[in-house]
Amino acid sequence: MKKLAFVAAAGAVAVAGGVQADTLSDTIARGALNCGVNIGVPGFAEQADDGSWSGLDVDVCRAVAAAIFGDAGKVAYFPVNSSERFNKLNAGEYDLLSRNTTWTFSRDVDLGLSFQGVNYYDGQGFMVPTSLGVSSAADLGGATVCVQTGTTTELNLADFFADNGISYTPYVVTTAAETNEAYLAGLCDVYTTDASGLAANRTTFPDPSAHVILPEIVSKEPLGPVTRQGDEVWGDIVRWTLNSMIIAEELGVTSDNAAAMAADADAPAGVKRLLGVEGSYGAMLGLSDDAFLNSLSQVGNYAESFERNVGPDTAVGLDRGLNALWTNGGILYAPPFR
């Protein structure tokens, strides 16, 4: 008994000692980036049969790993559902959460998280079976709606129906897999989540063409990578890795030409800075100067990642839309790299 109490007290002191975080050195010492991702949303985070991961969100993990280690493969993936993602991030299970997570005030301020930018501008939509004969969200009065718990979706849903004075019955479930199951089994008439998520999940249905996504977009869902509050250096690394992918698209740097452009003495100054030929931006982050050369040649720029995972040629088939560069009519805009 005495011993036990003593051990407890000693443990308490030890825990208190280890609070200060230096995520970068911890990650380097570990040899892999711990990254929280979606359990499975086609195009955003998906695990192939051989165990490898791919997707727009996964590419952020891979790019950060490449910037740190020079190897995009050094990622340990932690698939999480929506209701446990922040707890596990705060508990230190992983250091980066890249899982179609909406940047909101209360998450940023109240939950103690730091959002490091936006890698997909989205909005909440509704999907119904074509056979329901509904063409607008305004006709959904009385419907039962499947929604996933712990998301902004369930909050928007309540607001949308209350604001429009429409009654509905929510059916709240825990994971996307359960949502799909419930929707397909007819436990609800309507499936709601981020529009990208609707398109992605629809690809997994037995007959995708039997379901329509209604035209209304009822919310803003800027999705982006998240870190714990309190480690600014780590936050900078994630934010600028994402920015570098967008800037690379602006500058025309791709995975194919990155190495050649780095070697090209006549390359534009912006490219030289980005690829670590001029200035030592990598070192300012505590990384090597060729950090972004590595991430860009292994993962590619934003456009490449988009086309590869969710673009029009993939099963998910999303248009760039808002996610086009600001110069192309979208709102994708990264601060200058200098």
């Binding site: 308490a12 009385g142 712990g150 309540a158 509905y168």
Partner: protein, 576 residues
């Protein structure tokens, strides 16, 4: 007292030590020192952890405390609650209703598990080979596969039932249907034909404070130390009560069923006071709501104490006399008082405006309980006649008549407020909260059934062990005095077996109650999935939320223990 007493305090040690008095050789002093040291360490560890959590959480998000309990829940949960819950209700209400669901599921589960467990336990001992084997298979199959797997299996199976919209559900008359979503039955409708909003023509309470209020979250928080302290005190008090034999005896002298009422009321009170009390301390800006609530709670507590005191008086009288009159007064008094307190607590808890259909329901329950009082009176009279003449008059018909008359009277007094509500689907072919009828969602009955069936396997084993522990000689002796087999089971074997069965039954009940937290995997909302699954994710406050959930389960466990200990005291050998 010259003989050294080795088993007692310092005397012996002092006698033995020849040198200068070593204070550590004094046992009581040594004990005190050691225990002070240990307690000190524990207190230090607790304070340290709490402080550590507070400091680090503060650094991360700047607010730590129960303030979030008074903010709106912000999402619409699945409508699987006894009363409606909306997104602008306070978090406290979400949690309270989640807790209510936990309790409902646990109580029904315990009831069903006990019956099935006894049946299966007896079946395993049956002389009929087939029945005995079937029971063995039942037990082995159930207890060797985890409950979570059973739940998922049952839910997946239920999903294969016909869908209510797409294909014709299994249906019957009066809107009855079974589908992969829910079971729908016609229901009794209370409150029809009442017209007026309230029964008395005016509202006895102003329920406004309990309606949803959108409050700004106030950042002030009550430190966790207070909560932990309350938890310890509450838990400690209950433990002391369950441990102290003399206290239990005092409880035992009372009617058993009344004891349940008291304990239940006490539990509701303690939980409400704890949570509301904590909320009161924490924020001044919400004081209006909480002051009103606290006021009603205070009223409730005062009423409780008065009733308790009067009840004690009557009981003292009861013990002093054999007059059936006094006994019956006691019974009637306690029953009615219990009902009043329950209804009041429920009104405060759920903020149901008076005289909605729910209140009508309670009035009916009250009617039934009053009828119960009268039939108890009949029993007492029958007993008296039996004592006098040796013949017990038949009471069954009279008792039935009493039930019919009393319930009928309540019915008439309320203006015949009853009808049949036949469920109607809406334009999507679905049944919603407004469709009428009794709708039992699959998640609910699957959860209750899985919990009950699973636990019944363990109870069956306990029952079998208990029965086998009764000496064969008892049965043989009973047979030799000419008892019938049913009499032997009911009068000789079961009463003795209960002594062995009750203690392990306690832990089975607790297991069932705690296992109800698996509801999350089939999307049925109870306290864990609401509070830990959703609210925690939307609002943060992991430590506070987990602590409150722990408190809720702890309270439930202690209550189950208290009730089971009482029953145990009753069935165990009476030592005179």
């Amino acid at each position: 007292m010259t003989t050294p007493n080795l088993s007692a305090d310092g005397t012996a040690a002092t006698l033995r030590s020849s040198g200068p008095r070593n204070i550590f050789a004094t046992r009581w002093l040594r004990n005190i020192l050691v225990q002070t040291f240990i307690v000190g360490l524990i207190v230090f560890a607790v304070v340290y952890f709490v402080n550590n959590a507070q400091v680090n959480l503060l650094r991360r998000s700047g607010n730590f405390g129960l303030g979030f309990m008074a903010t709106p829940g912000s999402y619409d949960p699945s409508p699987f609650f006894p009363i409606p819950l909306k997104n602008n209700d306070l978090v406290f209400r979400f949690v309270a209703l989640g807790y209510v669901n936990t309790i409902i599921v646990s109580l029904i589960g315990i009831f069903a598990a006990t019956i099935m467990g006894f049946v299966m336990g007896l079946a395993r001992l049956s002389n009929n080979w087939l029945i005995a084997r079937a029971a063995t298979v039942y037990v082995e199959l159930l207890r060797n596969i985890p409950l979570a797997v059973w739940l998922l299996f049952a839910f997946a199976l239920a999903l294969t039932l016909p869908n209510i919209v797409a294909s014709a559900p299994i249906s019957g008359p009066l809107g009855l249907s079974i589908s992969n979503e829910k079971i729908i039955l016609p229901a009794l409708k209370f409150g029809d034909g009442m017209g007026a909003e309230t029964w008395l023509g005016f509202a006895p309470f102003d329920w406004q404070p309990f309606k949803t209020v959108s409050l700004q979250s106030s950042a002030m928080g009550m430190p966790l130390v207070g909560l932990l302290g309350l938890m310890l005190i509450g838990g400690g008090a209950l433990l002391v009560i369950t441990r102290r034999r003399d206290m239990m005896r005092a409880f035992n002298d009372r009617e058993l069923d009344t004891l349940y009422v008291w304990l239940g009321l006490l539990a509701v009170g303690v939980v409400l006071l704890l949570v509301f009390g904590a909320s009161m301390v924490m924020s001044v800006s919400n004081s209006v709501v909480f002051a009103a609530t606290a006021f009603y709670l205070l009223l409730w507590a005062i009423l409780f104490l008065i009733i308790f005191a009067i009840s004690n008086r009557i009981e003292a009288q009861e013990r002093a006399t054999d007059a059936p009159g006094i006994k019956s007064i006691g019974i009637i008094y306690r029953t009615i008082a219990g009902i009043v307190l329950i209804v009041l607590a429920l009104m405060i808890e759920t903020s149901v405006p008076p005289m909605t259909s729910w209140t009508m329901f309670w009035v009916f329950v009250a009617g039934l309980m009053i009828a119960n009082c009268f039939s108890t009176l009949l029993d007492i009279r029958a007993q008296a006649i039996q004592n006098r003449t040796g013949d017990r008059p038949h009471t069954l018909l009279y008792q039935l008549a009493i039930f019919v008359v009393v319930v009928g009277a309540v019915f008439v007094v309320l203006g015949g407020p009853i009808g049949i509500s036949v469920p109607e689907p809406n334009k999507f072919g679905r049944y919603t909260a407004n469709s009428g009828g009794l709708q039992i969602v699959n998640g609910f009955w699957i959860l209750v059934a899985a919990l009950a069936i699973y636990t019944s396997a363990f109870i069956a084993e306990t029952v079998r062990a208990g029965i086998q522990a009764v000496d064969r000689g008892q049965t043989e002796a009973a047979r030799s005095v000419g008892m019938r087999p049913s009499q032997i089971t009911n009068l000789i074997v079961i009463p003795q077996a209960l002594r062995v069965i009750i203690p392990p039954l306690n832990s089975q009940y607790m297991n069932l109650m705690k296992n109800s937290s698996l509801a999350a995997i089939i999307s049925f909302p109870e306290i864990t999935s609401i509070f830990h699954g959703t609210i925690l994710n939307q609002k943060g406050h992991a430590i506070e939320i987990t602590a409150i959930i722990m408190l809720a389960y702890l309270t439930n466990s202690l209550l189950i223990s208290a009730v089971m200990n009482t029953i145990n005291e009753r069935v165990k050998l009476v030592e005179r």
